[in-house]
């Protein structure tokens, strides 16, 4: 297995995510927190994020239906999601969150709906990309693999 090649691929994939604006600096901070004591920290956080944000998005969708024009409520829900996004560095999603909040502020229902749809799309895209990324990382082996002789 060419670990180095896999790792290179993973690195390039990650770079792509940054370049395309899916991730921002915060993601690097999260990565920095990964160490020997928590070797899978980033992936754990990502898994947690997608699960939680999925839940929040569906809550938001329900709220949009159940409480029409209740901008305060929508805004409150979105606030939560925005917090999550910013903690992991999900940059595009965070932008959509902010647009959504703006629309709430303006009382623009269509705008909110539109933002939510975009948000869902970004969520799905990021999830898929990160999953591939982590899979690649796993294949590339733990960092300790770097010291192993190339096989």
């Amino acid at each position: 297995m060419d670990y180095s090649n896999l790792r290179r691929q993973a690195a390039s994939m990650k770079k792509g995510l940054f370049d395309q604006g899916h991730l921002d600096e915060q993601f690097r901070q999260v990565e920095d927190l990964q160490d020997e004591a928590s070797p899978n920290f980033v992936e754990e956080v990502a898994v947690l994020f997608f699960k939680d944000s999925g839940r929040l998005i569906s809550n938001l969708e329900q709220a949009l239906e159940k409480y029409p024009r209740d901008f305060n409520r929508w805004d409150a829900y979105m606030q939560q999601l925005k917090g999550s996004c910013s903690s992991i560095g999900a940059s595009r999603m965070k932008s959509e969150c902010m647009s959504f909040k703006d629309n709430c502020g303006k009382g623009n229902v269509e705008g909110c709906m539109g933002c939510l749809q975009k948000l869902k799309r970004e969520h799905a895209i990021l999830r898929q990309k990160l999953e591939s990324y982590f899979q690649l990382l796993r294949q590339a082996g733990p960092t300790g693999a770097a010291t192993r002789p190339v096989m």
Binding site: Q26, Q29, V30, D32, L33, A37, S38, F41, E44, V45, L48, F49, D52, S53, A76, Q79, Q80, K82, G83, S84, S86, S87, I88, G89
Partner: protein
């Protein structure tokens, strides 16, 4: 395993503070919580997490010694973060840092007024977390020291006029060992002594003073007191229960009882004023950013109490009648501000009217009330002045005791203006919650002051807090304009020149936005040193007065009224016109306002100005037409500590003849107060 390592570290780390500092992190968002926990561990703190506020409270109640610091999210489903913040501050007296993705000014202000020692934005960076331990240290210093007997001796300097209210420096024993305390003490002394001479109504416990150790009602202490009272409910607050809740060693029931008495007087005054102000406030509309009741609430709670003495003394002295209105106005302004802060709307004023509004944690509610009323009644300026003067001055003189403002308001009305209160005001740490000690000069100042930590009194001021203040003072305040730039710079100068404590303010102010911030939002951090800002604003006025130019007016006002923007403008005019403006500076506009408004300020802005002093920029607004004049006066009166300002004002020119004469006296008295 990391946890074990951490525990081990924690165990050993107790000696290597901040390593091993025990943090309790509360956030309903699992992602944030996980990242936060890891970040904290990386800083080598010992971390406990929970995603529910109720669990956090339970843990804290079970054993308050288990933690050193709490970090909590603002928006949580089971309990509002601010509520948790209040409870923790009140019951456990632990520093609490708020966390949120929302960095809006009003929310941050709310955090401050509710007692947060810092407010971080998500995503939190590790660099920010590395410094949070300072909040623990700061709190230890500020609360423990002042209540000890030794501190009493230290803090109870020659001030005589105070019975058992030694509103001495908050930081009596504070870590501010850099020499500032002594400087502050001097300020205190001089102010107090002056006050004594001037204030007749002050409590003099000369005969017993030397014998019995006096309690220095530091900002921290007062904050706890107010929190306890709010928790119990003003009607049910009995000294014994308050004492229990406060849990401060070496504090006796008698101390609390006497403090409570003063506080009640203060509240009564505020409510009287508030009702009047309500009208004004309503008139002004809540839009004014200054009308942040929230800010006031917090502020009021503290300040009102702490510096009432100070204020009263001031008002007693010079400001008396004409100023009262101003003070009232000022107060209102503040309340309005504070009110708004919490309610984040102009409606806060209404809230302000409800004294106990702040029970939520806004002690300043009371103040707000007073303030609110004051605003409403620009007309009542006269009345306010009397009342407010005390308060205002307290506020103003609080040197940075933002908190002082509320008290000043009270003090104005109450004759018992203990010099100590005043001193306290001035000395009080301006420490605006985010550890910014911003001289009261005005909410804005607070903001700015915080950053600038104009905390002349305290060296401890954490600049971090200050930063935001300074920074935003300019940006935040909707100052209408004239202030912004003019005011700021001038104020800074003015302040620095006038007094020492305010120097910081000026720094804060002058540095930045001073102008801008002043007018705008007076961020009163109720907890802390709000007094400061009231102070700051006062000063600014002076400067203006001297200049007797509209601008100048604005400047000082800016500080205060920046928030008030509109009123400021007016205030300026009036101020400049009159030498009275000076009075505003001093006291808090009480005097000034009256005069200022008279002259030029047809505009309401003046009303704002008044507030500036007390941080009640909101008031200024309300006063707008009528209030302005009043506000000013009030402001002047409230600035007790601006001795320097006073003098400067007096010198300046007494353009405004009408007031000039009056003010002249007032000024001096104010000066004396200072």
């Amino acid at each position: 395993m990391r946890t074990e390592e951490r525990n081990g570290v924690a165990g050993a780390g107790r000696d290597q503070f901040p390593v091993g500092m025990r943090v309790l992190a509360v956030d309903d968002d699992p992602v944030c919580l996980k990242v936060l926990e890891t970040l904290l561990r990386r800083c080598q703190y010992h971390v406990t997490t929970t995603n529910q506020a109720v669990i956090a409270l339970r843990m804290l109640r079970e054993n308050r010694e288990m933690f050193d610091l709490v970090i909590s999210d603002v928006h949580m489903p089971d309990m509002d973060g601010f509520k948790l913040l209040e409870l923790v501050g009140l019951e456990m007296d632990l520093p609490v840092i708020m966390l949120s993705v929302n960095g809006e000014t009003k929310t941050v202000m709310k955090g401050i007024t509710h007692g947060a020692c810092d407010y971080l934005l998500k995503p939190v960076r590790i660099e920010e977390l590395r410094n949070i331990w300072q909040h623990v240290v700061r709190r230890k210093f500020s609360t423990r020291e002042c209540v000890t007997l030794d501190t009493y001796e230290e803090c109870n300097k020659p001030l005589s006029a105070d019975s058992d209210y030694a509103y001495g420096q908050v930081t009596c024993g504070s870590p501010d060992q850099s020499g500032r305390p002594s400087k502050k003490r001097k300020e205190y002394h001089s102010e107090e002594e002056d006050e004594d001479e001037d204030s007749n109504g002050q409590d003099n416990d000369d005969p017993s003073a030397p014998k019995r150790p006096r309690v220095v009602w530091s900002v921290e202490l007062h904050r706890k007191f107010v929190a306890a009272v709010n928790h119990l409910g003003i009607d049910k607050a009995v000294p014994k229960r308050i004492l229990e809740l406060m849990n401060v060693e070496k504090l006796t029931r008698e101390n609390v009882a006497s403090h409570l008495q003063k506080y009640r007087l203060y509240l009564r005054r505020l409510s009287a004023v508030a009702s009047q102000q309500a009208g004004i406030v309503a008139a002004l509309g809540g839009r004014d950013p200054f009308l942040r009741m929230d800010a006031f609430e917090g502020l009021q709670g503290y300040q009102a109490f702490t510096s009432p003495a100070a204020l009263s003394s001031f008002s007693a002295h010079g400001l008396s009648s004409p100023r009262n209105n101003q003070a009232a106005v000022v107060i209102q302004g503040r309340s309005i501000h504070t009110g708004s802060v919490s309610s984040t709307t102009n409606n806060s004023i209404g809230d302000a009217n409800k004294y106990h509004l702040s029970l939520q944690g806004n002690q300043h509610g009371k103040l707000a009330q007073g303030l609110a009323t004051s605003l409403g009644q620009a007309q009542l300026q006269q009345k306010w002045m009397n009342e407010d003067n005390g308060d205002l001055s307290a506020i103003l003189c609080g040197n940075s005791l933002v908190k002082g403002m509320p008290s000043t308001l009270r003090s104005v009305t109450s004759s018992t203006l203990l010099p100590q209160d005043q001193v306290e005001c001035t000395q009080a740490k301006v420490a605006i919650q985010p550890s910014i000690r911003a001289p009261p000069a005005s909410l804005e100042l607070l903001e700015g002051a915080v950053g600038a930590s104009s905390d002349p009194l305290e060296s401890r001021v954490s600049q971090q807090g200050a930063l935001p203040l300074c920074g935003f003072s300019g940006s935040r305040l909707p100052v209408h304009g004239p202030f912004n730039n003019n005011g700021a710079t001038r104020l800074g100068d003015a302040f620095s020149a006038s007094f020492r404590p305010t120097n910081d303010l000026t720094v804060a102010r002058g540095s930045k936005v001073g102008a801008s911030s002043f007018g705008g939002t007076i961020h009163l951090s109720p907890d802390t040193e709000q007094k400061y800002w009231s102070f700051g604003s006062g000063n600014s006025f002076r400067q203006k007065a001297d200049e007797s130019s509209a601008d100048s007016l604005l400047d000082p006002k800016l500080v205060w009224s920046s928030s008030q923007l509109t009123s400021n403008v007016d205030a300026h005019h009036s101020m400049s016109q009159r030498s009275n403006n000076c009075s505003i500076n001093i006291g808090h506009g009480a005097r000034m306002f009256g005069q200022i408004s008279a002259n030029a300020s047809p505009v309401v802005p003046q009303a704002k100005i008044d507030f500036l002093f007390s941080g009640d920029t909101s008031m200024a607004r309300n006063a707008s037409e009528s209030s302005i004049p009043r506000l000013q006066t009030e402001l002047s009166s409230s600035t007790c500590s601006f001795d320097g300002l006073l003098n400067s004002m007096i010198k300046v020119e007494k353009d405004d003849n009408a007031f000039g004469d009056d003010l002249g006296c007032d000024f001096y008295s104010l000066g004396a107060c200072i």
